[in-house]
């Protein structure tokens, strides 16, 4: 069988115009499919940045919450109620909101403000410069060095700004796992300072961060919180809820899906048509092979091998090209949201296999039908 596949390989790659057209079709489709799904994966990952960065096991919130960015404040008594649930190791409040900063040169810049529980500082970022204790200092804020850091004019320790006529001072530069989705920088401070600096509604707690005594207590805690009229979600559930909101309620998911399907159709059209022409041009030769003594299944293997070879080569080039372009884009555009995940690669692979299967199906049908007698008959 190796010899037959060697012939198939030579027939394919030596027909350079068609081989190139096939590769371009598959590569282009793979590139677009991975680019689209990677952008979407990047958006989804960034939409849950606060949840990932804070890292609490359980998040308690108003049931109407759709995303972590749109908070509905909780009354203070909920904190006491949650703390009294058996199985809760500890529960702390979190402030999450936005504010307009006035920078030293007079420009205004929107920013996310995260207020950590004053006592525990639960969810603190990893400091690159300064110490976490400095957050208790007067007017103290910690700036997050992410892709939006430059929008704060890349401050150093001691840099000052204004927030609702309050003076703010950068006392530390920190790092978090994930950048946010909305292109604004993030500042961390204490919960009470956040309430003091930013105008608030009657209720002030954005989320309650809960740590269970053991994983077995999670279900009971969720049940008790639900009885109280609120919603408790594990970290993964909250991330999934946010992702579902962006997928199904914003139109982003639908648009990405449409673009991915269009990419698939483009790839299928170019590759399918080119492969069909390739098979048709070689059809008499396949008939001659049949007359000489090749078995039908050997010819089918040849077609399947050619389709698989071109699909896998195009897939490899497409993945490489897409990865390079995303890498380059992130080099020059730090807030470019695209992540190549194994899920994206797998999806693109499945679609390429479908393209190869449909393309080769047409070829296989033709080759199965060709009769050696037709070769004699001319």
């Amino acid at each position: 069988m190796r010899g037959i596949l060697h012939i198939a390989y030579k027939l394919l790659v030596n027909d350079r115009p068609k081989y190139a057209a096939l590769l371009v079709g598959i590569t282009f489709a793979v590139f677009l499919m991975i680019e689209m799904t990677s952008l979407f994966a990047g958006i989804l990952a960034r939409s849950s940045a606060t949840v990932v960065n804070i890292g609490a096991s359980i998040w308690v919130m108003d049931p109407a919450i759709q995303t972590v960015a749109n908070t509905i404040p909780l009354p203070d008594y909920v904190l006491d109620e949650v703390r009294s649930i058996p199985g809760v190791k500890y529960a702390v409040p979190l402030y999450s909101g936005s504010a307009l900063l006035k920078l030293r040169d007079g420009t205004f810049q929107a920013a996310n403000i995260i207020g950590l529980d004053d006592t525990s500082l639960f969810g603190r970022p990893t400091l690159l410069t300064g110490t976490i204790e400095d957050i208790y200092g007067e007017n103290a804020f910690i700036a997050i060095k992410d892709s939006e850091f430059y929008k704060l004019q890349s401050p150093k320790i001691g840099a000052e700004f204004e927030l609702n006529d309050h003076r703010g001072v950068i006392v530390g530069i920190a790092h978090v796992v994930s950048s946010g989705l909305f292109g604004v920088p993030t500042l961390y401070t204490t919960y009470n300072r956040a309430l003091q600096y930013i105008p608030n509604t009657r209720f002030t707690i954005s989320y309650l961060l809960v740590e269970p005594k053991s994983p077995a207590d999670v279900a009971a805690i969720k049940q008790q919180v639900t009885k109280a009229g609120y919603l408790a979600l594990t970290k993964d559930e909250f991330i999934a809820k946010i992702a579902n909101f962006y997928k199904y309620q914003t139109g982003i998911g639908t648009n990405m899906l449409i673009m991915t399907v269009i990419s698939f159709i483009i790839g299928l059209s170019i590759s399918g048509q080119t492969f069909y022409t390739f098979v048709i041009e070689n059809l008499e030769k396949f008939g001659a092979l049949k007359a000489i003594g090749a078995k039908g299944r050997e010819l089918i293997f040849m077609i399947l091998f050619q389709a698989s070879f071109v699909a896998l080569t195009g897939y490899g080039i497409g993945v490489g090209l897409c990865t390079c372009i995303i890498w380059l884009a992130r080099l020059y555009l730090p807030d470019y949201a695209a992540i190549v995940t194994f899920g994206n690669l797998w999806l693109a692979f499945v679609m390429v296999v479908v393209i190869a299967a449909i393309s080769s199906y047409v070829g296989v049908r033709k080759v199965r039908k060709i009769e050696p007698f037709d070769i004699f008959r001319g």
């Binding site: 030769k285 050997e298 009769e371 007698f373």
Partner: protein, 237 residues
């Protein structure tokens, strides 16, 4: 006495049904012997290509039998028949049907590769056969770089590379000019024909009749006569 290579008995083949039924081969019987060049001649539509396809195991007859070296080929399974063709019969097609994307040597090696022979070994053997047809120096060229006569010789090298007992040539001069066609058939007669090989040529080119041992004439699907009955000469060989 010369050994019988092909024995065709009461062959019938028709296409279509009812009013559209066309009888392409009617009750044809003949024998071909080792060591002879047998021509099948007749006008277009006389059924000679259909008959050739039947005796070479490519087109199943509606009735009748074909024995090659004593084997009833139409009782074989499809796979066994394909294997039989691969090992026993060599084909030279009218339009050569060489792969333009393979080298000349690779084209010639195809039957050996189909026989699961190792690639390099098959190519080496193909080059030996290209030397027989005088094209050793063209081994690495694609067939499209060769003249019509050279392509025909490549097709002949491909047909003989697996050392088949039966060689089938379909209109070998149709795509060639007069002199080249004549030289090709002369070459086949002088260098490819052996006592252990039977060559069947379908043609309507009367200029090459001189190279035939016997000529089977067909018209309207029927065998109308056999000219130049020199089987006696064959028997004497």
């Amino acid at each position: 006495m010369a050994k019988t290579a092909i024995e065709a008995q009461s062959l019938n083949k028709w296409f279509g049904e009812g009013d559209a039924k066309t009888h392409a081969v009617r009750d044809v019987s003949f024998e071909a012997y080792f060591g002879e060049v047998l021509y099948v001649v007749g006008p277009s539509g006389s059924g000679k290509t259909t008959m050739l396809s039947i005796i070479s195991g490519i087109l199943r007859p509606n009735s009748g039998s074909v024995k090659i070296e004593g084997t009833e080929i139409w009782s074989l399974s499809n796979d066994a028949l394909a294997d039989f063709r691969l090992h026993k019969i060599g084909f030279v097609f009218q339009d050569f049907h060489l792969f333009p994307r393979l080298t000349t040597a690779e084209n010639v090696a195809i039957p050996l590769i189909l026989q699961k022979r190792e690639w390099n070994e098959a190519l080496k053997e193909a080059e030996t056969d290209l030397a027989i047809v005088g094209l050793k120096d063209r081994a690495q060229l694609p067939p499209v770089r060769l003249s019509g006569g050279e392509q025909q010789r490549v097709a002949i090298a491909r047909a003989i590379v697996s050392r088949p007992d039966i060689l089938i040539l379909d209109e070998p001069t149709a795509s060639l000019d007069g002199d080249t066609g004549r030289n090709i058939v002369k070459f086949v007669r002088e260098h490819i024909l052996t006592d252990q090989r039977c060559i069947v040529i379908v043609t309507h080119d009367s200029r090459i009749y001189e190279f035939a041992d016997r000529i089977v004439k067909m018209e309207d699907g029927r065998l109308t006569g056999i000219e130049r009955e020199n089987v006696e000469n064959l028997n004497a060989q």
